[in-house]
Subunit: 156 residues, 2 copies
Amino acid sequence: MALVARAFGARGVFIDGYDESLVNKVRKTVEYWGGSYFEVRLVSDPKGLVRQWRENGGKVIHLTMYGINLPEVENRIREIDNLLIVVGSEKVEGWYYTNADFNVAVSNQPHSEVAALAILLDRLYKGDELNIVFRDAKIRIIPQERGKKVIRTDEQ
Amino acid sequence: MALVARAFGARGVFIDGYDESLVNKVRKTVEYWGGSYFEVRLVSDPKGLVRQWRENGGKVIHLTMYGINLPEVENRIREIDNLLIVVGSEKVEGWYYTNADFNVAVSNQPHSEVAALAILLDRLYKGDELNIVFRDAKIRIIPQERGKKVIRTDEQ
């Protein structure tokens, strides 16, 4: 989830809980693949984060298959600057449904939170996220028709 | 992965191995949420499947972060009728790189196979997949601004 957020153009990720190994994995990815602006933070009070985000003028989207289907709201949410996207695991408390600015579904079908986040970010960035270049990357893929080619950009 | 395939418009999924519980989970989803055309099959010889698919005139896309970035090939692959998409876990044998018709990356960044599949299907269907209605569904979500609403379509 955090790697999708980074690769698809988010500025950072807040993780509910104390999963230090996850944080380290994401930081490792950032170190090699770039995007040092990308913030990774553990939070112990996710509801407080949502409240504060809104008090600071930001908007909150809660991704849920029960919400309004993305095609109907994508133009509205694309205009928003400070967007916090809440992605839950299987059970999300009702509090988030009532306290988010938007409850958005990526189709009203059961599938995957990771896929939902990817498609939402894709719509926000209109596909440009697939061409992000992380200028501070230490390693970079040179796309190939067949096989793998990775270069180190710090060894030149 | 299989649920993303179903929700995003694939006609079925082949699973390498013998994960019967996964098959049952997908079939359960199809039973309630619809899409009885969606095939779920375990395969013991995935390379044989790839070979046969191509012999029958179909094309094979292997999703890999090392491949050609999707925006460069999406128009070409959208024209193809019988498409088999190969999605691997962490390590995929070189055989697939040489035997696929296309090695396609969804950005050349590390993230998630599920996200990659979702974005690829989204490009193939130009976003229409978010509005698929499964007419044979037993339950259906009525999208809500807040909260959850699910109806049984067989109790009317």
